[in-house]
């Protein structure tokens, strides 16, 4: 019995350790993602503190002005931003794994139906630091998909566009980063 146990341990322990190492690596990668989005939120707040605060107003032009000023300030502060600055290769791989798991899991059929129902959005081009096109609808991000993705600071949200996953600055209406072919 002891011998059998030892043999089992001999064969399976390395596999278990490997799996554990993968899990640890995965959570480290997601921690890194947290740091990056928190850094972005900090930058957003810094820029926002330099322009007049947005309060409910009767003047739509003031809302538009605020959105544009905030976006301009963030663009200037992230002038060199490009795709992959937040979705680094390691983080992108981790997100692909998460999304793959979700989109092939028990909730997958429902999520796909939900995405179809919500009027899928296609944009001619997606680029970092560009405004999400005014007038283009915002596709619903299914709740079960959101439940499986890392939490974001309140300044940011996930949006699905075609098969891409976008990180959007809500108040500045700005594309902060995106992950291509995210939805399997």
């Amino acid at each position: 019995m002891n011998r059998l146990f030892s043999m089992g341990l001999f064969f399976y322990l390395p596999l278990l350790l490997l799996a554990q190492a993968k899990v640890n690596q995965g959570s480290l990668t997601l921690q890194e993602f947290d740091h990056l989005v928190m850094d972005y939120a900090k930058l957003h707040k810094t820029v926002r503190s330099k322009i007049p605060a947005m309060k409910p107003t009767k003047e739509p032009a003031a809302i538009d002005q605020h959105e544009r000023s905030l976006a301009r300030g963030i663009r200037e502060a992230r002038a060199t931003a490009r795709q992959g600055l937040i979705f680094t290769p390691e983080i992108a791989a981790q997100f692909h794994a998460l999304l793959d798991q979700t989109m092939h899991g028990p909730e997958a059929a429902r999520i796909r139906e939900s995405m179809k129902q919500a009027a899928p959005v296609q944009l001619p081009a997606i680029s970092v630091n560009a405004a999400y096109p005014s007038g283009a609808p915002l596709q619903t991000t299914p709740p079960s998909l959101l439940a499986n993705l890392p939490k974001l600071p309140p300044e940011l949200e996930y949006r699905v566009v075609g098969r891409s996953l976008i990180l959007r600055d809500i108040e500045a209406n700005l594309i902060v980063d995106y992950l291509s072919s995210a939805i399997p």
């Binding site: 429902r110 919500a118 005014s134």
Partner: protein, 280 residues
């Protein structure tokens, strides 16, 4: 009570004949109107606005719930004027408040537009008499919002709990159909905490669905938009209307919630009474 100002407004609007209103119109009741997918800025929306104003002359509703797609296209100042301020000018001047929820065609920053009474929030609640209203953002139902609605509903002692948002949990639309993932997440919370009525849009027609787990669902996405003959025949449809634009009126008398759905030409297309949850 009709003021001279209101009567002048009705006159100036060249008002349509108000629909034959059947609500009880009791004193001290909570009265409101509902519109969805309205923000086109085109003639049908203006016609609905005129009919609403005509009904206001008789029914004096205090506020209007907006089920999303409040402003289609760009969000310039002129777009707000063309798709909201002008079509409902008479109601706005009479002091009627609008409470908006966000649709997929809305900018998230509409929450800062004061006449939408969102106070900068994507989801919020407010109470009138014995009715509590919960506006949700069905575009982005993240775990935080789900926690929020659970807490709000569990803490509410209102006799009537009404949730309103854009994407329908039930719908017999050929174009979209129900959002099953949203339903899976929201319906158990609504059932557990006694929501009586769910109001949604997104489908460009009117549909009242036979009660599901005790909840009456309305789809009203034709207050500006219209998708003719888009409603599928189904046993779930208690009443449907997909040949013209419409809006709805509701009145809570405490024990009952009365509703009447009216087309842009003033025809009553549906009416009825809802009993509070737990009562037959």
């Amino acid at each position: 009570m009709r003021s001279p100002l209101l009567l002048s407004l009705l006159f100036l609007a060249g008002v349509n004949q108000a629909a034959d209103l059947k609500l009880p119109m009791k004193e001290k009741s909570v009265r409101f109107a509902i519109i969805g997918d309205n923000g086109t800025g085109e003639k049908p929306q203006y016609d609905v606005g005129k009919e609403m104003l005509a009904c206001y002359g008789k029914f004096n509703f205090d506020f209007v719930l907006m089920l999303g797609d409040n402003i289609y296209g760009g969000h310039s100042a002129s777009a707000f004027k063309r798709t909201f301020e002008d079509p409902y000018a008479g109601l706005l001047q009479a002091g009627v408040k609008f409470y908006a929820s966000l649709g997929n065609h809305d900018s998230t920053n509409e929450r800062y537009y004061k006449p939408f009474n969102m106070d900068g929030k994507q989801y919020y609640s407010f109470k009138r008499g014995d009715v509590e209203f919960f506006a949700l953002d069905s575009n982005y139902m993240d775990p935080e919002q789900l926690d929020w609605i659970r807490k709000q509903l569990s803490g509410s002692s209102a006799r009537w709990k009404i949730c309103f948002f854009h994407h329908p949990l039930y719908s017999d639309g050929k174009m979209h159909g129900p959002d099953l993932d949203l339903r899976k997440r929201l319906e158990p919370i609504f059932v557990e905490f006694g929501v009586s009525v769910v109001l949604t849009g997104h489908e460009h027609f009117y549909e009242r669905i036979r009660p599901k787990s005790g909840i009456t669902h309305f789809v009203l996405g034709n207050s500006g938009q219209l998708r003719v003959h888009n409603l599928r025949r189904s046993e779930d449809v208690a009443k449907g209307f997909d040949t013209d634009c419409a809006f709805a009126l509701m009145e809570s008398t405490g024990d009952e919630l009365h509703f009447q759905t009216i087309s842009r030409t003033g025809e009553t297309v549906d009416s009825g009474v809802i009993a509070p949850r737990g009562k037959p």
